[in-house]
Protein backbone atom coordinates (compact mmCIF):
# COMPACT_ATOMS: atom_id res chain seq x y z
CA UNK A 1 0.00 0.00 0.00
CA UNK A 2 1.40 3.31 -1.11
CA UNK A 3 1.21 6.01 1.57
CA UNK A 4 1.36 9.75 1.06
CA UNK A 5 1.37 12.49 3.68
CA UNK A 6 0.49 15.88 2.26
CA UNK A 7 1.18 19.04 4.29
CA UNK A 8 0.29 17.06 7.38
CA UNK A 9 0.10 19.36 10.41
CA UNK A 10 -0.82 18.81 14.03
CA UNK A 11 -1.11 21.58 16.56
CA UNK A 12 -1.85 21.16 20.27
CA UNK A 13 -3.03 24.59 21.29
CA UNK A 14 -0.21 26.96 20.47
CA UNK A 15 2.35 24.18 20.01
CA UNK A 16 2.95 22.87 16.52
CA UNK A 17 3.95 19.25 16.95
CA UNK A 18 4.11 18.41 13.26
CA UNK A 19 4.56 21.13 10.67
CA UNK A 20 3.43 20.65 7.06
CA UNK A 21 4.99 17.24 6.63
CA UNK A 22 5.26 15.88 3.08
CA UNK A 23 6.28 12.27 2.75
CA UNK A 24 5.81 9.38 0.32
CA UNK A 25 6.17 5.76 1.28
CA UNK A 26 6.31 3.21 -1.51
CA UNK A 27 4.33 0.02 -1.33
CA UNK A 28 6.24 -2.59 0.65
CA UNK A 29 8.78 -0.10 1.86
CA UNK A 30 10.12 -0.06 5.43
CA UNK A 31 10.39 3.55 6.54
CA UNK A 32 11.69 4.78 9.85
CA UNK A 33 10.81 8.07 11.57
CA UNK A 34 13.90 9.10 13.47
CA UNK A 35 14.43 12.01 15.80
CA UNK A 36 14.93 13.08 19.39
CA UNK A 37 11.97 12.89 21.74
CA UNK A 38 9.45 15.64 21.09
CA UNK A 39 10.32 15.88 17.40
CA UNK A 40 6.83 14.89 16.25
CA UNK A 41 7.57 11.39 15.02
CA UNK A 42 5.11 9.62 17.31
CA UNK A 43 2.49 12.30 16.72
CA UNK A 44 2.84 11.66 13.00
CA UNK A 45 2.49 7.92 13.54
CA UNK A 46 -0.62 8.39 15.66
CA UNK A 47 -2.12 10.53 12.91
CA UNK A 48 -1.44 7.79 10.39
CA UNK A 49 -3.00 5.32 12.82
CA UNK A 50 -6.09 7.51 13.22
CA UNK A 51 -5.70 8.12 16.93
CA UNK A 52 -4.95 11.79 16.45
CA UNK A 53 -6.89 13.83 13.94
CA UNK A 54 -4.63 16.11 11.87
CA UNK A 55 -5.12 19.85 12.22
CA UNK A 56 -4.42 20.24 8.51
CA UNK A 57 -3.25 18.20 5.58
CA UNK A 58 -4.06 14.85 4.07
CA UNK A 59 -3.14 11.22 4.65
CA UNK A 60 -3.59 9.10 1.56
CA UNK A 61 -3.45 5.30 1.54
CA UNK A 62 -3.29 4.18 -2.08
CA UNK A 63 -6.01 6.29 -3.69
CA UNK A 64 -8.02 6.76 -0.51
CA UNK A 65 -7.96 9.75 1.79
CA UNK A 66 -8.14 8.38 5.31
CA UNK A 67 -7.56 11.25 7.71
CA UNK A 68 -11.25 11.32 8.71
CA UNK A 69 -11.57 7.56 9.08
CA UNK A 70 -11.58 5.71 12.40
CA UNK A 71 -8.50 3.56 13.10
CA UNK A 72 -10.50 0.40 12.52
CA UNK A 73 -11.39 1.46 8.97
CA UNK A 74 -7.83 2.16 7.87
CA UNK A 75 -6.45 -1.35 7.48
CA UNK A 76 -3.54 -0.89 9.84
CA UNK A 77 -1.83 -2.99 12.48
CA UNK A 78 0.16 -1.40 15.23
CA UNK A 79 2.77 -2.38 17.82
CA UNK A 80 3.09 -0.05 20.79
CA UNK A 81 6.17 0.75 22.81
CA UNK A 82 4.58 -0.83 25.88
CA UNK A 83 3.24 -3.65 23.63
CA UNK A 84 -0.21 -2.84 25.10
CA UNK A 85 -1.14 -6.49 25.44
CA UNK A 86 -4.48 -6.99 27.16
CA UNK A 87 -3.42 -8.32 30.57
CA UNK A 88 -6.63 -10.21 31.23
CA UNK A 89 -6.52 -12.21 28.00
CA UNK A 90 -4.37 -15.17 27.04
CA UNK A 91 -1.88 -14.90 24.21
CA UNK A 92 -4.36 -16.59 21.86
CA UNK A 93 -7.13 -14.19 22.90
CA UNK A 94 -4.81 -11.23 22.47
CA UNK A 95 -3.81 -12.24 18.98
CA UNK A 96 -7.39 -13.11 18.07
CA UNK A 97 -8.89 -9.88 19.44
CA UNK A 98 -8.69 -7.97 16.13
CA UNK A 99 -10.53 -10.85 14.43
CA UNK A 100 -13.44 -10.75 16.86
CA UNK A 101 -14.43 -7.32 15.71
CA UNK A 102 -16.53 -6.55 12.67
CA UNK A 103 -16.69 -8.96 9.75
CA UNK A 104 -17.65 -12.48 10.63
CA UNK A 105 -14.68 -14.77 10.95
CA UNK A 106 -15.64 -18.38 11.62
CA UNK A 107 -14.26 -20.03 14.73
CA UNK A 108 -12.11 -22.46 12.77
CA UNK A 109 -10.80 -19.71 10.55
CA UNK A 110 -10.06 -17.57 13.57
CA UNK A 111 -8.10 -20.33 15.26
CA UNK A 112 -6.13 -21.07 12.10
CA UNK A 113 -5.19 -17.44 11.62
CA UNK A 114 -4.18 -17.00 15.26
CA UNK A 115 -1.90 -20.03 14.94
CA UNK A 116 -0.52 -18.77 11.67
CA UNK A 117 0.28 -15.32 13.08
CA UNK A 118 1.73 -16.83 16.25
CA UNK A 119 3.87 -19.18 14.18
CA UNK A 120 5.20 -16.29 12.15
CA UNK A 121 6.81 -14.81 15.27
CA UNK A 122 7.45 -18.12 17.06
CA UNK A 123 5.03 -17.79 19.95
CA UNK A 124 2.78 -20.69 18.92
CA UNK A 125 3.87 -22.65 22.00
CA UNK A 126 2.72 -19.89 24.37
CA UNK A 127 -0.89 -19.48 23.28
CA UNK A 128 -2.43 -20.32 26.65
CA UNK A 129 -0.20 -18.04 28.71
CA UNK A 130 -1.05 -14.60 29.94
CA UNK A 131 1.07 -11.54 29.14
CA UNK A 132 2.38 -11.33 32.72
CA UNK A 133 3.86 -14.82 32.26
CA UNK A 134 5.88 -13.79 29.21
CA UNK A 135 9.32 -12.24 28.91
CA UNK A 136 9.69 -8.84 27.29
CA UNK A 137 10.82 -10.38 24.03
CA UNK A 138 7.88 -12.77 23.98
CA UNK A 139 5.43 -9.96 24.70
CA UNK A 140 6.92 -8.06 21.81
CA UNK A 141 6.38 -11.02 19.51
CA UNK A 142 2.79 -11.43 20.63
CA UNK A 143 2.21 -7.73 19.94
CA UNK A 144 3.61 -8.25 16.44
CA UNK A 145 1.38 -11.25 15.85
CA UNK A 146 -1.65 -9.28 17.00
CA UNK A 147 -0.75 -6.43 14.66
CA UNK A 148 -0.38 -8.80 11.71
CA UNK A 149 -3.26 -11.19 12.27
CA UNK A 150 -5.77 -9.03 10.39
CA UNK A 151 -3.39 -8.92 7.42
CA UNK A 152 -3.33 -5.14 7.45
CA UNK A 153 -2.06 -3.06 4.54
CA UNK A 154 0.23 -1.05 6.76
CA UNK A 155 2.18 -1.96 9.87
CA UNK A 156 2.98 0.77 12.38
CA UNK A 157 5.64 0.28 15.04
CA UNK A 158 6.10 2.80 17.83
CA UNK A 159 9.50 2.38 19.50
CA UNK A 160 8.95 -1.37 19.65
CA UNK A 161 12.46 -2.23 20.78
CA UNK A 162 13.13 0.35 23.45
CA UNK A 163 11.80 -1.79 26.29
CA UNK A 164 14.10 -4.71 25.49
CA UNK A 165 17.57 -5.33 26.82
CA UNK A 166 20.49 -4.81 24.47
CA UNK A 167 20.93 -8.42 23.39
CA UNK A 168 17.24 -8.99 22.70
CA UNK A 169 17.03 -5.67 20.90
CA UNK A 170 19.70 -6.79 18.49
CA UNK A 171 17.93 -10.08 17.93
CA UNK A 172 14.51 -8.51 17.37
CA UNK A 173 15.99 -5.87 15.07
CA UNK A 174 17.04 -8.51 12.63
CA UNK A 175 13.88 -10.48 13.09
CA UNK A 176 11.50 -7.59 12.48
CA UNK A 177 13.44 -6.56 9.41
CA UNK A 178 13.26 -10.06 7.99
CA UNK A 179 9.59 -10.45 8.88
CA UNK A 180 8.77 -7.16 7.17
CA UNK A 181 10.37 -8.32 3.94
CA UNK A 182 8.82 -11.79 4.17
CA UNK A 183 5.32 -10.42 4.62
CA UNK A 184 6.04 -7.57 2.23
CA UNK A 185 3.99 -5.15 4.29
CA UNK A 186 4.39 -1.39 4.04
CA UNK A 187 5.78 -0.41 7.44
CA UNK A 188 6.51 2.69 9.47
CA UNK A 189 8.84 2.39 12.40
CA UNK A 190 9.27 5.17 14.95
CA UNK A 191 12.50 5.32 16.90
CA UNK A 192 14.88 7.70 18.60
CA UNK A 193 17.74 5.25 18.15
CA UNK A 194 19.71 5.97 14.98
CA UNK A 195 21.19 2.49 15.01
CA UNK A 196 17.73 0.93 14.79
CA UNK A 197 16.68 3.29 12.03
CA UNK A 198 19.83 2.81 9.98
CA UNK A 199 20.02 -0.96 10.35
CA UNK A 200 16.36 -1.72 9.72
CA UNK A 201 14.79 0.83 7.42
CA UNK A 202 14.85 1.16 3.65
CA UNK A 203 14.50 4.90 4.07
CA UNK A 204 14.78 7.11 7.12
CA UNK A 205 12.81 10.30 7.74
CA UNK A 206 14.80 12.41 10.18
CA UNK A 207 12.61 14.84 12.12
CA UNK A 208 13.33 17.68 14.47
CA UNK A 209 10.88 20.12 16.07
CA UNK A 210 8.05 18.85 13.91
CA UNK A 211 9.92 19.48 10.68
CA UNK A 212 11.26 16.87 8.28
CA UNK A 213 15.05 17.35 8.13
CA UNK A 214 15.93 14.66 5.65
CA UNK A 215 14.34 11.68 3.98
CA UNK A 216 16.83 9.31 2.40
CA UNK A 217 18.35 5.86 2.53
CA UNK A 218 20.60 5.11 5.51
CA UNK A 219 23.65 5.16 3.24
CA UNK A 220 22.78 8.61 1.87
CA UNK A 221 22.09 10.00 5.32
CA UNK A 222 25.48 8.85 6.43
CA UNK A 223 27.44 9.84 3.37
CA UNK A 224 25.74 13.12 2.44
CA UNK A 225 23.74 14.53 5.37
CA UNK A 226 21.45 17.29 4.12
CA UNK A 227 22.11 19.63 7.01
CA UNK A 228 24.00 19.97 10.21
CA UNK A 229 21.21 18.52 12.37
CA UNK A 230 21.19 15.29 10.37
CA UNK A 231 24.97 15.17 10.30
CA UNK A 232 25.12 15.53 14.07
CA UNK A 233 22.28 13.15 14.80
CA UNK A 234 23.52 10.30 12.66
CA UNK A 235 26.78 8.56 13.40
CA UNK A 236 28.36 7.29 16.60
CA UNK A 237 30.46 8.85 18.02
CA UNK A 238 29.01 12.04 16.55
CA UNK A 239 30.65 14.06 13.81
CA UNK A 240 33.26 16.72 14.69
CA UNK A 241 32.22 20.26 13.79
CA UNK A 242 34.28 23.42 13.73
CA UNK A 243 33.92 26.82 12.14
CA UNK A 244 36.39 27.70 9.39
CA UNK A 245 37.23 30.51 7.06
CA UNK A 246 37.27 29.71 3.38
CA UNK A 247 39.96 31.10 1.13
CA UNK A 248 40.97 30.51 -2.46
CA UNK A 249 44.43 29.17 -3.09
CA UNK A 250 45.95 27.98 -6.31
CA UNK A 251 42.55 27.52 -7.94
CA UNK A 252 41.07 25.44 -5.12
CA UNK A 253 39.44 26.35 -1.81
CA UNK A 254 41.02 25.96 1.59
CA UNK A 255 39.15 25.78 4.92
CA UNK A 256 41.15 27.23 7.78
CA UNK A 257 40.84 27.15 11.55
CA UNK A 258 43.36 27.28 14.37
CA UNK A 259 45.84 24.47 13.79
CA UNK A 260 43.85 23.15 10.82
CA UNK A 261 44.10 23.72 7.11
CA UNK A 262 42.13 21.53 4.74
CA UNK A 263 42.22 21.79 0.98
CA UNK A 264 38.78 21.07 -0.37
CA UNK A 265 38.15 19.30 -3.64
CA UNK A 266 34.41 19.47 -3.88
CA UNK A 267 33.91 23.19 -3.56
CA UNK A 268 30.67 23.83 -5.42
CA UNK A 269 29.61 27.22 -6.63
CA UNK A 270 27.60 27.65 -3.46
CA UNK A 271 30.55 26.80 -1.26
CA UNK A 272 32.86 28.84 -3.44
CA UNK A 273 30.91 32.00 -2.81
CA UNK A 274 30.90 31.54 0.94
CA UNK A 275 33.53 33.00 3.21
CA UNK A 276 32.77 30.99 6.28
CA UNK A 277 31.68 27.40 6.63
CA UNK A 278 31.18 24.85 9.36
CA UNK A 279 33.29 21.82 8.60
CA UNK A 280 32.08 18.41 9.67
CA UNK A 281 34.29 15.32 9.78
CA UNK A 282 33.28 11.95 11.15
CA UNK A 283 35.66 10.49 13.75
CA UNK A 284 36.07 7.36 11.65
CA UNK A 285 37.40 9.51 8.80
CA UNK A 286 40.09 11.17 10.86
CA UNK A 287 43.31 9.19 10.80
CA UNK A 288 46.02 9.75 13.39
CA UNK A 289 49.40 10.28 11.73
CA UNK A 290 52.83 11.52 12.75
CA UNK A 291 53.03 15.13 13.80
CA UNK A 292 53.69 17.32 10.82
CA UNK A 293 51.69 15.08 8.50
CA UNK A 294 48.01 15.50 7.68
CA UNK A 295 45.94 18.67 7.76
CA UNK A 296 45.81 19.31 11.51
CA UNK A 297 48.17 19.13 14.40
CA UNK A 298 47.46 18.66 18.08
CA UNK A 299 48.12 16.55 21.11
CA UNK A 300 46.38 13.52 22.51
CA UNK A 301 43.86 14.53 25.18
CA UNK A 302 42.50 11.12 26.12
CA UNK A 303 42.40 7.59 24.70
CA UNK A 304 39.42 5.27 25.21
CA UNK A 305 40.06 1.68 24.10
CA UNK A 306 36.84 0.01 22.91
CA UNK A 307 38.27 -3.38 21.97
CA UNK A 308 37.75 -3.31 18.24
CA UNK A 309 38.98 0.27 18.06
CA UNK A 310 40.08 3.18 20.21
CA UNK A 311 38.44 6.57 20.48
CA UNK A 312 41.08 9.27 20.67
CA UNK A 313 40.32 12.87 21.59
CA UNK A 314 42.90 15.23 20.16
CA UNK A 315 43.31 18.79 21.38
CA UNK A 316 43.72 21.03 18.35
CA UNK A 317 44.15 24.66 19.41
CA UNK A 318 41.06 25.63 21.37
CA UNK A 319 38.96 22.68 20.34
CA UNK A 320 38.97 18.96 20.66
CA UNK A 321 38.50 16.62 17.72
CA UNK A 322 37.53 13.01 18.07
CA UNK A 323 39.21 10.36 15.96
CA UNK A 324 39.02 6.60 15.77
CA UNK A 325 42.29 4.72 15.84
CA UNK A 326 43.01 1.02 15.30
CA UNK A 327 43.62 -1.12 18.41
CA UNK A 328 47.34 -0.98 17.74
CA UNK A 329 47.54 2.77 18.27
CA UNK A 330 49.91 3.33 21.21
CA UNK A 331 49.70 7.12 21.69
CA UNK A 332 49.62 8.46 25.21
CA UNK A 333 48.10 11.57 26.73
CA UNK A 334 50.13 14.62 25.72
CA UNK A 335 51.72 13.03 22.64
CA UNK A 336 51.93 15.29 19.61
CA UNK A 337 50.02 13.88 16.64
CA UNK A 338 48.84 14.88 13.21
CA UNK A 339 45.32 14.30 11.85
CA UNK A 340 44.55 13.39 8.29
CA UNK A 341 41.29 13.38 6.39
CA UNK A 342 40.74 12.71 2.75
CA UNK A 343 39.09 15.78 1.21
CA UNK A 344 36.02 13.90 -0.10
CA UNK A 345 35.14 12.97 3.51
CA UNK A 346 34.83 16.60 4.53
CA UNK A 347 31.30 17.97 4.90
CA UNK A 348 30.64 21.70 4.61
CA UNK A 349 27.64 23.41 6.17
CA UNK A 350 26.37 26.96 6.07
CA UNK A 351 27.19 28.43 9.53
CA UNK A 352 23.83 30.16 9.88
CA UNK A 353 21.27 27.97 8.11
CA UNK A 354 23.08 24.67 8.73
CA UNK A 355 22.36 23.58 5.14
CA UNK A 356 24.87 21.45 3.32
CA UNK A 357 27.23 23.41 1.09
CA UNK A 358 29.46 20.78 -0.47
Amino acid sequence: MHVRLDKLTKRFGAVTAVDALDLEIRSGEFVSFLGPSGCGKTTTLLMVAGIYRPTEGAIIFGERRVEQLMPKDRGIGMVFQSYALYPHMTVAENIGFPLDVGRGVTKADRERRVREAAGLVHVDKLLERRPAQLSGGQQQRVALARALVKRPDILLLDEPLSNLDARLRHEMRGEIKRLQKEVGITSIFVTHDQLEALTMADRVAVMSDGVLQAYATPAELYARPANRFVAEFIGMPPMNFFPTELAARNGSTVARAEGIEIELVLATARAGAARHATVGIRPEHLAIVSPGEGQARGEVFVVEPMGREQIVDVQVGERRLRAIAPPGFAGKIGDSVGLRVSPEQVHLFDPTSGQRLS
Binding site: A84, Y86, R146
Partner: protein, 289 residues
Protein backbone atom coordinates in the same frame (compact mmCIF):
# COMPACT_ATOMS: atom_id res chain seq x y z
CA UNK B 1 4.46 -11.91 43.79
CA UNK B 2 7.79 -12.57 45.43
CA UNK B 3 7.74 -12.21 49.16
CA UNK B 4 10.70 -10.95 51.09
CA UNK B 5 11.67 -13.24 53.91
CA UNK B 6 12.39 -11.49 57.13
CA UNK B 7 15.57 -12.40 58.93
CA UNK B 8 14.47 -14.36 62.00
CA UNK B 9 16.42 -12.09 64.33
CA UNK B 10 14.25 -9.13 63.43
CA UNK B 11 11.14 -10.92 64.64
CA UNK B 12 12.28 -11.49 68.21
CA UNK B 13 10.36 -9.15 70.49
CA UNK B 14 12.56 -6.82 72.44
CA UNK B 15 11.04 -5.35 75.62
CA UNK B 16 10.63 -1.89 74.15
CA UNK B 17 9.01 -3.08 70.95
CA UNK B 18 6.09 -4.47 72.95
CA UNK B 19 5.17 -0.98 74.13
CA UNK B 20 3.06 -0.01 71.10
CA UNK B 21 1.03 -3.20 71.49
CA UNK B 22 0.34 -2.46 75.15
CA UNK B 23 -0.77 1.09 74.35
CA UNK B 24 -2.96 -0.06 71.47
CA UNK B 25 -4.49 -2.87 73.53
CA UNK B 26 -5.47 -0.49 76.32
CA UNK B 27 -6.87 2.03 73.86
CA UNK B 28 -8.86 -0.64 72.05
CA UNK B 29 -10.28 -2.24 75.20
CA UNK B 30 -13.49 -0.16 75.43
CA UNK B 31 -14.35 -1.04 71.84
CA UNK B 32 -13.61 -4.72 72.40
CA UNK B 33 -15.79 -4.74 75.51
CA UNK B 34 -18.54 -3.13 73.47
CA UNK B 35 -18.39 -5.82 70.81
CA UNK B 36 -18.21 -8.55 73.42
CA UNK B 37 -21.26 -7.18 75.22
CA UNK B 38 -23.08 -7.05 71.94
CA UNK B 39 -22.21 -10.70 71.27
CA UNK B 40 -22.97 -12.33 74.62
CA UNK B 41 -25.87 -10.03 75.41
CA UNK B 42 -28.04 -11.80 72.89
CA UNK B 43 -27.48 -15.22 74.47
CA UNK B 44 -28.43 -14.40 78.10
CA UNK B 45 -31.77 -13.50 79.62
CA UNK B 46 -30.49 -10.31 81.17
CA UNK B 47 -27.39 -8.13 81.31
CA UNK B 48 -26.60 -5.95 84.29
CA UNK B 49 -24.01 -3.44 83.34
CA UNK B 50 -21.47 -5.58 81.56
CA UNK B 51 -22.29 -8.75 83.49
CA UNK B 52 -24.59 -11.38 81.94
CA UNK B 53 -27.23 -12.78 84.31
CA UNK B 54 -28.76 -16.22 84.08
CA UNK B 55 -28.05 -19.23 81.90
CA UNK B 56 -27.09 -19.37 78.24
CA UNK B 57 -30.23 -19.25 76.08
CA UNK B 58 -31.51 -18.69 72.57
CA UNK B 59 -34.60 -17.07 74.01
CA UNK B 60 -33.74 -13.64 72.67
CA UNK B 61 -33.65 -15.06 69.15
CA UNK B 62 -37.33 -16.10 69.37
CA UNK B 63 -38.18 -13.24 67.02
CA UNK B 64 -36.94 -15.42 64.20
CA UNK B 65 -39.19 -18.45 64.67
CA UNK B 66 -41.92 -17.20 66.98
CA UNK B 67 -42.26 -13.46 66.50
CA UNK B 68 -45.76 -13.32 68.00
CA UNK B 69 -44.43 -14.31 71.42
CA UNK B 70 -42.23 -11.23 71.44
CA UNK B 71 -44.36 -8.26 72.48
CA UNK B 72 -42.18 -5.72 70.72
CA UNK B 73 -42.54 -7.55 67.41
CA UNK B 74 -46.31 -7.80 67.39
CA UNK B 75 -47.15 -4.58 65.60
CA UNK B 76 -44.24 -4.76 63.20
CA UNK B 77 -43.67 -6.29 59.75
CA UNK B 78 -42.18 -9.79 59.90
CA UNK B 79 -38.42 -10.16 59.96
CA UNK B 80 -38.01 -12.22 56.81
CA UNK B 81 -39.80 -9.80 54.45
CA UNK B 82 -37.83 -6.98 56.06
CA UNK B 83 -34.62 -8.87 55.40
CA UNK B 84 -35.61 -9.41 51.79
CA UNK B 85 -36.45 -5.74 51.47
CA UNK B 86 -33.10 -4.78 52.92
CA UNK B 87 -31.36 -7.13 50.53
CA UNK B 88 -33.23 -5.80 47.51
CA UNK B 89 -32.54 -2.25 48.61
CA UNK B 90 -28.81 -2.86 49.14
CA UNK B 91 -28.30 -5.00 46.03
CA UNK B 92 -30.24 -2.68 43.74
CA UNK B 93 -28.35 0.32 45.08
CA UNK B 94 -25.03 -1.46 44.56
CA UNK B 95 -25.93 -2.46 40.99
CA UNK B 96 -27.13 0.99 40.06
CA UNK B 97 -24.03 2.61 41.59
CA UNK B 98 -21.78 0.15 39.73
CA UNK B 99 -23.44 0.66 36.38
CA UNK B 100 -23.43 4.44 36.48
CA UNK B 101 -20.00 4.76 38.11
CA UNK B 102 -18.38 2.40 35.62
CA UNK B 103 -19.69 4.44 32.70
CA UNK B 104 -19.33 7.92 34.18
CA UNK B 105 -15.90 7.13 35.66
CA UNK B 106 -14.70 6.02 32.23
CA UNK B 107 -16.06 9.16 30.60
CA UNK B 108 -14.43 11.41 33.18
CA UNK B 109 -11.16 9.54 32.87
CA UNK B 110 -10.96 9.35 29.10
CA UNK B 111 -13.20 11.78 27.28
CA UNK B 112 -12.71 15.50 26.95
CA UNK B 113 -16.10 17.15 26.89
CA UNK B 114 -17.31 20.66 27.66
CA UNK B 115 -17.86 21.18 31.37
CA UNK B 116 -15.74 18.22 32.40
CA UNK B 117 -13.82 20.14 35.04
CA UNK B 118 -16.96 21.68 36.38
CA UNK B 119 -18.61 18.28 36.71
CA UNK B 120 -15.58 16.85 38.46
CA UNK B 121 -15.58 19.72 40.94
CA UNK B 122 -19.32 19.33 41.40
CA UNK B 123 -18.92 15.64 42.20
CA UNK B 124 -16.51 16.42 45.02
CA UNK B 125 -18.87 19.05 46.34
CA UNK B 126 -21.84 16.67 46.24
CA UNK B 127 -19.82 14.00 48.01
CA UNK B 128 -19.37 16.30 50.98
CA UNK B 129 -23.08 17.15 51.15
CA UNK B 130 -24.84 15.69 54.21
CA UNK B 131 -27.99 13.89 53.12
CA UNK B 132 -30.03 15.27 56.04
CA UNK B 133 -29.94 18.72 54.48
CA UNK B 134 -31.66 17.43 51.36
CA UNK B 135 -34.48 15.53 53.08
CA UNK B 136 -37.19 18.09 52.44
CA UNK B 137 -36.20 18.63 48.82
CA UNK B 138 -36.03 14.88 48.29
CA UNK B 139 -39.46 14.46 49.81
CA UNK B 140 -40.91 16.98 47.40
CA UNK B 141 -39.22 15.40 44.40
CA UNK B 142 -40.11 11.82 45.32
CA UNK B 143 -43.74 12.77 45.88
CA UNK B 144 -43.92 14.62 42.59
CA UNK B 145 -42.56 11.51 40.85
CA UNK B 146 -44.98 9.25 42.67
CA UNK B 147 -42.09 7.41 44.29
CA UNK B 148 -42.75 8.41 47.87
CA UNK B 149 -43.23 5.39 50.16
CA UNK B 150 -41.83 3.15 47.40
CA UNK B 151 -38.71 0.99 47.61
CA UNK B 152 -37.73 2.18 44.13
CA UNK B 153 -37.76 5.79 45.26
CA UNK B 154 -35.45 5.11 48.18
CA UNK B 155 -33.14 3.06 45.96
CA UNK B 156 -32.86 5.97 43.53
CA UNK B 157 -32.25 8.45 46.34
CA UNK B 158 -29.59 6.26 47.96
CA UNK B 159 -27.91 5.66 44.61
CA UNK B 160 -27.75 9.38 44.01
CA UNK B 161 -26.03 9.89 47.35
CA UNK B 162 -23.52 7.12 46.69
CA UNK B 163 -22.70 8.09 43.11
CA UNK B 164 -20.20 10.91 43.72
CA UNK B 165 -17.96 8.56 45.68
CA UNK B 166 -18.42 5.74 43.18
CA UNK B 167 -17.72 7.86 40.12
CA UNK B 168 -14.65 9.33 41.73
CA UNK B 169 -13.28 5.91 42.71
CA UNK B 170 -13.93 4.41 39.28
CA UNK B 171 -12.36 7.40 37.54
CA UNK B 172 -9.27 6.74 39.64
CA UNK B 173 -9.19 3.11 38.55
CA UNK B 174 -9.64 3.98 34.88
CA UNK B 175 -6.89 6.59 35.21
CA UNK B 176 -4.37 3.86 36.06
CA UNK B 177 -4.95 2.02 32.76
CA UNK B 178 -2.36 3.06 30.18
CA UNK B 179 -3.66 4.90 27.14
CA UNK B 180 -1.76 2.48 24.95
CA UNK B 181 -4.21 -0.30 25.78
CA UNK B 182 -7.13 1.76 24.61
CA UNK B 183 -5.39 2.99 21.49
CA UNK B 184 -4.47 -0.58 20.77
CA UNK B 185 -8.07 -1.68 21.09
CA UNK B 186 -9.15 1.11 18.74
CA UNK B 187 -6.53 0.11 16.16
CA UNK B 188 -7.54 -3.53 16.57
CA UNK B 189 -10.97 -2.52 15.36
CA UNK B 190 -13.03 -2.08 18.50
CA UNK B 191 -15.33 0.91 18.92
CA UNK B 192 -15.66 2.91 22.13
CA UNK B 193 -18.33 0.72 23.65
CA UNK B 194 -16.53 -2.52 22.86
CA UNK B 195 -13.25 -1.13 24.16
CA UNK B 196 -14.97 -0.18 27.38
CA UNK B 197 -16.66 -3.54 27.79
CA UNK B 198 -13.95 -5.94 26.59
CA UNK B 199 -10.73 -4.17 27.53
CA UNK B 200 -11.34 -1.52 30.17
CA UNK B 201 -13.95 -3.12 32.44
CA UNK B 202 -12.04 -6.36 33.00
CA UNK B 203 -9.03 -4.31 34.05
CA UNK B 204 -10.93 -2.37 36.69
CA UNK B 205 -12.58 -5.50 38.09
CA UNK B 206 -10.94 -5.12 41.51
CA UNK B 207 -12.39 -1.63 41.67
CA UNK B 208 -15.84 -2.80 40.61
CA UNK B 209 -15.83 -5.57 43.21
CA UNK B 210 -14.75 -3.26 45.99
CA UNK B 211 -17.16 -0.49 45.02
CA UNK B 212 -20.01 -2.98 44.64
CA UNK B 213 -19.30 -4.39 48.06
CA UNK B 214 -19.00 -1.02 49.74
CA UNK B 215 -22.19 0.23 48.10
CA UNK B 216 -24.02 -2.91 49.18
CA UNK B 217 -22.90 -2.41 52.76
CA UNK B 218 -23.82 1.26 52.59
CA UNK B 219 -27.29 0.28 51.41
CA UNK B 220 -27.61 -2.45 54.01
CA UNK B 221 -26.67 -0.04 56.79
CA UNK B 222 -28.74 2.88 55.56
CA UNK B 223 -31.28 4.05 58.09
CA UNK B 224 -32.33 7.62 57.40
CA UNK B 225 -33.70 7.28 53.86
CA UNK B 226 -35.87 4.17 54.39
CA UNK B 227 -37.03 5.54 57.74
CA UNK B 228 -38.14 8.85 56.28
CA UNK B 229 -39.33 7.90 52.82
CA UNK B 230 -40.99 4.53 53.46
CA UNK B 231 -43.13 5.22 56.51
CA UNK B 232 -45.85 2.63 55.81
CA UNK B 233 -43.92 -0.33 57.11
CA UNK B 234 -44.37 -3.12 54.58
CA UNK B 235 -41.44 -1.86 52.57
CA UNK B 236 -39.18 -0.98 55.47
CA UNK B 237 -35.72 -2.34 56.13
CA UNK B 238 -33.93 -3.96 59.06
CA UNK B 239 -32.37 -0.72 60.24
CA UNK B 240 -35.79 0.75 60.86
CA UNK B 241 -36.72 -2.36 62.85
CA UNK B 242 -33.71 -1.93 65.13
CA UNK B 243 -34.61 1.71 65.55
CA UNK B 244 -38.17 0.69 66.38
CA UNK B 245 -37.12 -1.72 69.12
CA UNK B 246 -34.74 0.84 70.56
CA UNK B 247 -37.45 3.50 70.69
CA UNK B 248 -40.16 1.23 72.16
CA UNK B 249 -41.62 2.62 75.36
CA UNK B 250 -39.63 3.47 78.44
CA UNK B 251 -37.75 0.29 78.85
CA UNK B 252 -35.53 -1.35 76.23
CA UNK B 253 -35.14 -5.12 75.99
CA UNK B 254 -31.40 -5.34 75.53
CA UNK B 255 -31.49 -9.07 74.91
CA UNK B 256 -33.84 -8.65 71.98
CA UNK B 257 -31.99 -5.58 70.78
CA UNK B 258 -28.61 -7.33 70.64
CA UNK B 259 -30.14 -10.41 69.00
CA UNK B 260 -31.82 -8.38 66.27
CA UNK B 261 -28.71 -6.24 65.94
CA UNK B 262 -26.49 -9.28 65.55
CA UNK B 263 -28.89 -10.73 63.00
CA UNK B 264 -28.73 -7.42 61.15
CA UNK B 265 -24.92 -7.11 60.97
CA UNK B 266 -24.17 -10.80 60.41
CA UNK B 267 -24.50 -10.66 56.60
CA UNK B 268 -22.14 -7.69 56.46
CA UNK B 269 -19.56 -9.47 58.61
CA UNK B 270 -19.80 -12.61 56.48
CA UNK B 271 -19.49 -10.55 53.32
CA UNK B 272 -16.35 -8.86 54.59
CA UNK B 273 -14.82 -12.18 55.63
CA UNK B 274 -15.45 -13.64 52.18
CA UNK B 275 -14.38 -10.59 50.23
CA UNK B 276 -11.48 -9.45 52.36
CA UNK B 277 -9.00 -10.38 49.69
CA UNK B 278 -10.88 -8.49 46.99
CA UNK B 279 -11.15 -5.42 49.17
CA UNK B 280 -7.42 -5.50 49.89
CA UNK B 281 -6.68 -5.67 46.21
CA UNK B 282 -8.18 -2.25 45.73
CA UNK B 283 -4.72 -0.86 46.36
CA UNK B 284 -2.87 -3.12 43.95
CA UNK B 285 -4.17 -1.27 40.93
CA UNK B 286 -5.76 -2.68 37.83
CA UNK B 287 -3.01 -3.58 35.41
CA UNK B 288 -0.15 -5.95 35.97
CA UNK B 289 2.60 -7.14 33.67
Amino acid sequence: MASVEMPTGARRLRPLSAAPYVVLAVATLPILVLYAWFLYGSFFPRVEGLVPIGAFTFDNWRFLWDPLSVPQMRNRPAVIPLTINTFIFAAATALAVLLVSAMAGYAFSRLRFPGRRMFLGGILLLHSFPSVTLLIALFVVLRALGLYDQLLGVILAKTAFELPFGIWIMKGFFDTIPWDLEMSALVDGAGRLRTWWKVMLPLVKPGLLALGLLSFVQGWNEFLLPYVFMPSGTQQTLSTLVRGILGEGRFVDYGLLTAVGLYYVAPVLVLFLIAQEQLMRIYQGGVKG
